[in-house]
């Protein structure tokens, strides 16, 4: 085989044409999300441990059971926010940069709305109890605050992707690992909220 033909048909050339198999970045992000999910599991486990060790009335006397309207609105904002990023990812896999940009912007807006609603929720709750009122207050603010921090990190990632995609020369049909990895993180932040909604807002009513 002559040099040119060999270079074009060799294993290296064929396998670099399109991504084959999972990338190291994908595995890295999945493992990271696994360890983060374990952290949330420990946190929610601590909530139930303290709750069941505490006694019959939960939340403790002096704190009203949480109202549901606002957290349900927050859920309605955060859960669908995964859809635009999925749509964006599918778009960039076909090389459609406009879909990437539009999808990321939509997700960013939904995530930011969620954080604004959470700030509003805090403003209301802080009048009733704080981090230092009792163990319930500590759990409430640390669990929701830790999740809020994750949303903030996720939003930073989405914003960062959006900035990179607006610059041009960043993503295309052959190069979208970063979009995929950030999307995995965002879906995770999204799903964890469901567990938090159940633990903090729904479980005291059971």
């Amino acid at each position: 085989m002559s040099g040119g033909v060999r270079a074009a048909t060799g294993t290296a050339a064929l396998t670099t044409e399109l991504p084959v198999g999972r990338s190291t970045g994908w595995w890295g992000m999945v493992m990271f999300v696994v360890t983060e999910a374990t952290l949330f599991a420990c946190l929610l486990g601590s909530y139930f441990y303290l709750r069941f060790q505490f006694g019959a009335q939960w939340p403790p006397p002096g704190i009203a059971p949480p109202t549901l309207l606002k957290p349900l609105v927050m859920t309605a904002v955060l859960l669908p926010s995964s859809l635009p990023v999925i749509w964006a990812e599918h778009g960039i896999r076909r090389g459609q940069r406009w879909r990437l940009r539009t999808g990321l912007a939509a997700t960013f807006l939904l995530g930011a709305t969620f954080l604004a609603l959470q700030a509003n929720e805090y403003a209301e709750k802080l009048r009733e109890f704080t981090l230092t009122t009792n163990a319930y207050g500590s759990l409430f603010y640390v669990i929701t605050g830790f999740h809020g921090l994750h949303v903030l990190v996720g939003l930073t990632m989405i914003g960062w992707l959006l900035a990179a995609s607006l610059r041009g020369g960043s993503f295309g049909a052959h190069r979208h690992d970063r979009v995929r990895n950030a999307a995995i993180y965002w879906h995770f932040v999204d799903l964890v909220w469901v567990a938090i909604l159940f633990t903090i807002y729904l479980s005291p009513r059971l």
Binding site: C42, S46, L50, G95, V142, G168, F171, G172, A173, R178
Partner: protein, 642 residues
């Protein structure tokens, strides 16, 4: 099964030059601070963990000197508490795991036939964080502000009221900081072993050491979050007045213990598992055959990593939990001895069926088996709740876990030091000096810790800075102290042996032992690119097998040289089928800068400089953002349609 000399390079002179150009680094301060070479990072891990081992060992020596006779006044109670807390914390977190991660870093890419770890920059970051977190914790000692409530840090003793001052803040923040490095390192090992194995290395051809370090990685990513959460809550309770551990306001002190041991018991295996991997790696070279029952040993490794999450309550048998839970955890603690036993019998059978070559690494492996089995024996005694409740908080427990950890981790680590020293430094050690070191360490270890079983059963409590004169306590305590000095002399001889090898040792051939794994088929020390030709693996013992060896020599193919850049191969997770060529990152300042920004953050949190901490957090985010910023590529290469 022959002792091969340097392999015939299957790459041309010109390709070797190009590899050198892409991977080599000219020595300079800049290169030293920015390198991402897994071999350099691995060596640094080993040296730094060795330094922390020495500091923690000297702390122990000071404690043993204090305990040599009753009512001694060498150390004040405050000094003793800080030394004994730093001894435990440093041995567990700053020596054992980082030392084994150091071997992992140096060896995993070599064992699987790759050119670096999956995430080389993350690897460099892990080292810098480990170094800074270690210094962060040790630096508190000269100021009398070191952690002082035991490495287990039980509340309520560690609360703000009972332990005022920075002591336990150093502990919680230090471990949170270090945890970033441990988690990053674990993820790196897992992904490296999944994706970067040489073509042909299907799962059933993966060396046992790699299996062990991957299992360890999985244990870390599931166990470490519990410790991190525990420390975060401790810090919040102490600094910001939350009530997680405060029973007066709805908290619970046992929450600390549950979370701590949900991490803590897997952590015993996190420490011991890679050490067991070392044993499985060392044995074939000195028994001239593969480890017996490869599949069973792999099964044991996986089984132990899973069951280790179901035994934590056996650390809490004296806390008054429901009886039913004791039965469950007692049963699980008994069951875990089965896979542990499988491994021990596999090694014994290997030695029985093989031809023993008695060199220093094998001596340490035999010392390991003897000591670890004794520690495991007392371990099964603790699985019986009633016995556990009798001896809890006595020196019997101290004897047990030193047999497990010195036997199960230090001996294999020393075996590894002698076994891989020729590969790491390119020099042979002095055999006579090594034998003296072994016998002194072995004798010193048993003279120190065996008597602890006795005075533990005689009722001497642990964690005390001194004791009254009691029959059976005084003399045996003196024996322990003499033993600890013997052990120290032995360890000093190990250090002397390493220094002697580096200074005066004769040059090591590529394969001084006739080993079976891939690291022995490349130079000692390996070139920056590890392998001139990436191997094609045909068996579990590639260096003993003709076709695997030839794949790097006469049978080399051009598409496994990859000399046109800093490149290595990705293969499929299960079968090791070739997937594609990837470009590896070159040296960078970002890991060091990111670790410094994190150090600033944790220091600012310690001293309550919150605005500085906020600035540091922004610096961390900024560094990560530039680190991951996508390079600009031409549209055609990206594949853009709109």
């Amino acid at each position: 099964m022959s002792t091969t000399a340097a392999p015939v390079p299957g790459a041309s002179r010109e390709q070797l030059d190009r590899l050198e150009e892409h991977w080599g680094e000219r020595p300079s301060l800049r290169a030293w601070l920015t390198t991402v070479d897994h071999k350099k990072i691995g060596r640094r891990y080993l040296v730094t963990a060795g330094l922390f081992f020495a500091l923690a060992g000297l702390s122990a020596l000071a404690m043993r000197t204090q305990l040599a006779r009753p009512e001694a006044g060498l150390l004040s109670p405050q000094e003793y508490n800080q030394l004994f807390t730093m001894h435990g914390t440093a041995m567990i977190f700053l020596f054992a795991t980082p030392m084994l991660f150091g071997f992992g870093n140096f060896l995993v890419p070599l064992l699987i036939g790759a050119r670096d770890m999956a995430f080389p920059k993350l690897n460099a970051l892990g080292y810098w964080i480990f170094l800074f977190a270690g210094l962060f914790m040790w630096a508190s000692l000269p100021f009398g502000a070191a952690p002082n409530a035991g490495w287990f840090a039980y509340v309520p003793l560690t609360g703000q009221q009972q332990t005022p001052g920075l002591h336990m803040d150093v502990y919680s923040l230090g471990l949170l900081f270090l945890g970033i490095a441990t988690a990053a390192g674990s993820i790196n090992f897992i992904v490296t072993a999944l994706k970067l194995r040489a073509p042909g290395m299907s799962l059933n051809r993966v060396p046992l050491f790699v299996w062990a370090i991957v299992a360890t990685g999985f244990m870390v990513i599931f166990a470490l979050p519990a410790l991190n959460l525990d420390n975060a809550m401790l810090f919040l309770d102490r600094r910001f007045g939350t009530h997680f551990f405060d029973p007066e306001a709805g908290g619970n002190v046992l929450l600390w213990q549950h979370l701590f041991w949900i991490f803590g018991h897997p952590d015993v295996y996190i420490i011991v598992m890679p050490a067991l991997g070392i044993v499985s790696a060392v044995l074939p070279a000195f028994t001239r055959r593969g480890v017996v029952g490869y599949v069973l040993v792999v099964f044991a490794i996986v089984a132990i990593s899973i069951i280790s999450f179901g035994v934590w309550v056996h650390h809490m048998f004296a806390t008054g939990l429901p009886r039913l839970s004791y039965s469950f955890f007692s049963a699980a603690s008994t069951i875990i001895t089965i896979p542990s036993g499988i491994q021990i019998f596999a090694w014994l059978a290997t030695m029985l069926l093989g031809r023993l070559v008695v060199r220093v690494p094998l001596l340490f492996v035999i010392g390991f088996i003897v000591t670890f089995v004794l520690g495991g024996f007392t371990g099964t005694m603790f699985a019986l709740t009633v016995f556990d409740q009798q001896v809890t908080d006595s020196y019997f427990v101290v004897a047990h876990f030193h047999y497990v950890l010195v036997g199960g981790a230090v001996f294999p680590i020393l075996a590894a030091v002698y076994y891989w020293l020729p590969k790491i430094t390119g020099r042979m050690y002095h055999e006579g000096l090594g034998r003296w070191a072994f016998w002194l360490v072995f004798a010193g270890m048993h003279v120190t810790f065996f008597p602890m079983h006795l005075y533990g059963l005689f009722g001497m409590p642990r964690r005390v800075y001194t004791y009254p004169s009691e029959p059976g306590w005084d003399a045996w305590n003196l024996v322990s102290t003499v033993g600890s000095y013997l052990l120290a002399v032995g360890l000093l001889l190990v250090l002397a042996g390493v220094v002697h090898a580096i200074r005066r040792g004769r040059p090591a051939p590529p394969d001084p032992w006739g080993g079976d794994t891939l690291e022995w088929s490349t130079d000692s020390p390996p070139k920056p690119y590890n392998f001139a030709v990436l191997p094609q693996v045909h068996s579990l013992h590639p260096t003993w097998d003709e076709s695997s060896r030839e794949s790097m020599g006469a049978g080399a193919e051009a598409d496994r040289v990859l000399a046109d850049g800093r490149r290595t191969l990705l293969t499929s997770e299960l079968d090791g089928r070739r997937e594609r060529v990837v470009e590896m990152p070159a040296s960078s300042w970002q890991p060091l800068l990111l670790a410094l920004a994190m150090l600033l953050f944790f220091t600012a949190m310690l001293f309550a400089w919150y605005p500085v901490a906020a600035v540091a957090a922004v610096a961390v985010a900024g560094t990560v953002a530039t680190w991951l910023w996508p390079p600009r590529r031409p549209e055609r290469e990206l594949g853009v349609s709109a």
